[in-house]
Structures are given as structure tokens and as C-alpha cells.
Amino acid sequence: MGMTIVEKILARASGLQSVKAGDVVEPAVDVAMSHENAALVINQFFEVFKGTGIEPKVWDPDKIAIIFDHRVPAESAKTATNQKKIRDFVRANKISRFHDIRSDEGGICHQILAEYGYVKPGYVVVGTDSHTTTHGAFGAFAFGIGATEMASVWTLGSILNVEVPETIKVVVNGKFKKNVFPKDLILYLIGKITAQGANFKVIEFHGEAIKNMPMSGRLVLCNMSVEAGATSGIVPPDEETVRYLREAGVEEELNFLLPDEDAKYSQIVEIDASELTPQIAKPHTVDNVKPISEVEKVHIDQIVIGSCTNGRIDDLEIAAKILKGKKVAAGTRMLIFPASWRIYKEALAKGYLQTFTEAGAVIMNPGCGCCLGVHQGALGDGEVALSTTNRNFKGRMGNPKAEVYLCSPAVAAASAITGVITEPNIGD
């Protein structure tokens, strides 16, 4: 019987001819990514070696990536001490892919992995971050794990006891209407299959709308696949994958693993992109999705554009186009945090940051920023945020007495001008 992409990747990484959903394997890891929670990974890593008489040593310092993004620059002595501990470990273990709090190399971990071409088709990628699913955009099997599991990977170079997941095939045909974006597609899909609709499963994206979608959009789809519970999202690699990776400086030959025609899927979902309208995820679950026409025009206290989901240059470009010569409504504040310093500098060169500051928006340094409400941009009691980030759980932006709505960058920018949830209307 044929195999899905993930079955092929897991067979390759486990040294097997073939695998099928339900098999238990121990795949070798190609990229192991962590951010500030490496502080806990380091602790667990030393625990593993305790009493063995073996000197603690990571299996391959060139396959580990550590990127500071969750609290940059440090908001507290505790975070700063964690970051210092991680820097010391990085130096002692000669970990080569380390991205510190610097404007010449920094950014959100998932954007950095993409920009630096660390992830290639067919790879097994694990990260101590649930949005590691993002890297399925490159045709890799990429998923989030906990810190202890990462300590195990750092020790052995493989993931122990992985069950080969089933795959849901999502086929998206048709052309997006104006003002409708990959974010709207993924919100619609999560609303349709629910927040646990893909739990323990992989979502494989197919169809002409995916084929025609640039890498930035594929990253959005795979990033938010985890919000449907998916172990990973994945897009079959093609010319667009090659284009992006070549631009990222990858010179080596790329090996595509593609699904077989007769691969077995647990479910097939078909979506016509041309029927989609802008979508909103209402509080407090990501699957509480409605078309914007059915969402009340609630007042927004804080608009947020940024994150590993929608903080890329094309997101800022759309927002700048809408905000050019306009003002953020009185009584509304707007926070923008680009996903990396490379994007920040490109937005600066293209004049987007000028447009945003003239409109009254606050530009923040690249990082996870207000997405998880630990560092900047927390909400007050009873306040409402409209955000291009990926989660709207109770308490997500630092306050369980506040509400978060999720949307595309176009909706966020249009709503910043009016101060209420507003449908964008970008002309040609």
C-alpha cells in the first residue's frame, strides 16, 4: 500500500522500507529546536546522565538550534538568568545554530528556522514549542515536544517510541477572493474540524490553492495546524519550496518525499478557496470561528499584528497598504511586532514602519511579544484585543478577564482605523 509524506519521512528516518499508521518507530532527528525553555531542557539533560558515569554531551551540536524569542530582551532577573545559563551551555557544547538577542541574527524561532534554511524537505524536526508544526511547510515532519523529550533527543539523537500518525488530507481548490488570505483558510478549517479534530493526526495540504500559495502562506497553514490538535501540518514540496530555500542560501541538493497516489488517509476534507470570506476566531477557543459578516462590531482596545503566524513581510505590506495616510482610531492602540529582525529591516527599508508610526501604531522589537502576554502588551480587565496571532485562550494575553479575537493582518489593519472589527476592502 502507498504511503503518506509523513509515513515516508518516518520510514527514511527510522531506516525502514515502509511504515504505516500505528507502527512504533524511533526516527533520527535532523533539527532539534528550543527557545528560552532550553533552561528546563538543560536541567533534564543533566538528569539523564546522573549516576551513569558518562560525561554529559549532546549527540550533535550542529543539529540543535536555540533561539531566544519568548522574552526578549529579558523582562525579569529570572528570565535573564535562564538566558545566561543557556548561553553558557551553548558555548560549552559548541551549539552552532544559536540566535541571541541581536538585530543581525534574531527573531522568532520559527521564522529564524525558515529564513536560515535550517529545515529541508524530508527532515524530522522537533521543537520545544507547539508551533513547530510550522516547518511542515517545507515538506518536513515537524512537531512540538516537551522539555524532557528534548533532553532525550539531545542525548540519543532520536525520538523514542513515536507512533506513526494517521493523516487527514485537506484539498483546497479555487482562487482566493481579494481580502481573503491563508489565515482565513486555516481559521475556517479549524472551525470546521474543531480544536481537536486532528488530535494525534497530521494534516496534509493539497490542491491548486496550495500549489499557487507562496511559502509565507504555507507557513501560516502549517503553523496553525496545531490549533486543530494536529501533530503536524505538511505541504508536499515543489518548485516554491526550492525557490524559498535557494533564496535562504541553501545550496545542497533537495530530496523530495511526496505522498503516493494510493496513500491511505483517515479523512479527506475539500475546501473551495473562492467561497471563503475573512474569518474571525472569537474568544476563548480557536475553533470558535465565524465569517466576519456574522461577528458583532465590538470595540477593540488593542490591535496586534505580528507573531510566528502573521509577522512576515507580506503581512506588514498588506497592513501598510491599508494604513497608509490613515490613523489608528482614538481609544484603540496598535502594536506591531515583526517576526524577525530581517523582516524588521526590510519593513524599515520599504517605508512600512514609517507608515505605521505615522498612523500611531507602536513598533516593538521582534519576538513573541504580546502573543502570550508575558512580556509586553498585556490586556487590562474587560479589554478586547484583535490579533493576527494564533491563540485566543482565556488568559492568553496575560489576563483571564480580557478577550482575544483572531484574524488576518488585513482585518487587523482595517479594524485599527475604525476601532471596531471591520472587513478590509483592498482595491487592485
Partner: protein, 163 residues
Amino acid sequence: MPKVIFKFDNDVSTDTIYPGRYMATVLPTETPQYCFADYTELNAKLNSGEYKGGVIIAGENFGCGSSREQAASTILGHNLIVIAKSVARIFMQNAVNLGLELITCPTIEAEIGDEIEILPDKVINKSTGKEFEIIPLPPARKAIIEAGGLIPYTRKRLLEKMK
């Protein structure tokens, strides 16, 4: 016999279990103090020791969201048992890796104060006399539990590899 101390609805996220603002605290010895921090009364009774070893009943998709392992270690620190209708993948894996008792029981019916008996294949609500079937953990995860968690399991594998 353990008693139900709290009941949650569906989609309890890791932001509810261990709010993001405490994420700089990582060590399993320190995380228990922030368990369900936004539920102030529950958190206080956990920290006073009153609820130690109690049972939490939850709906579908318990532990959805982030991969933060603090969400498992914070519950484990109070020796709580979680019985949920379904559990999100990363949280389940973290629970298994750390040795948190996490039971998937799609039909569970229990109220606060009910006494719960847990058997290998079922949960018995002693207060109502009703029995509920458990969905067993996949065999791949059982091997980790039998080794006493992922750290001892990895240590064993490391020693085998070095031989």
C-alpha cells in the same frame, strides 16, 4: 480513596493550567505553586495541601495549546490525578514522560466530592456506583511508564548504546 476536587469544561488550555506569565519558572520543584493560578481559590487550596492527591475531572481536549512541560509538572507536584474525556497530544506525552497519572475516560460522570476508584480498565465512581471504561494508553507510551518515566528510560537506552 481519592475525591474529586474540581471539574473543568472542554478545552482547558495550558494557559489555564500554567499561565504564560509564570513560564520563566521551569523547575518541577518550583512550578506547583502556580498550578491553575487564575483559579485563585483552587490554587490556594492546592498550595495549602488541602487538595493533595485529589482528582480533577475535565471534558474534551484537556491540555490543548502550548508544549510547556510546566503544565504537567505543576499538576504532578500536587499528586493530582486527571480524568479527562480526551487529552491533547503534547500534554499527554509530557504527562507520560513525567509520570503524571492521566486517564482518558470519554464517558466519565462525577461531581465534586465524589470518591473515585481507578482500576486498569475502568474508573468507578464510588459515590454513584457507576463504572466508566478507560481508553488505555498506546503501547508505545506504556514502555515509558513502565521504566518510571522518560528520564530513566533514556538513561537505560544511553547505557545500552555506550556498551
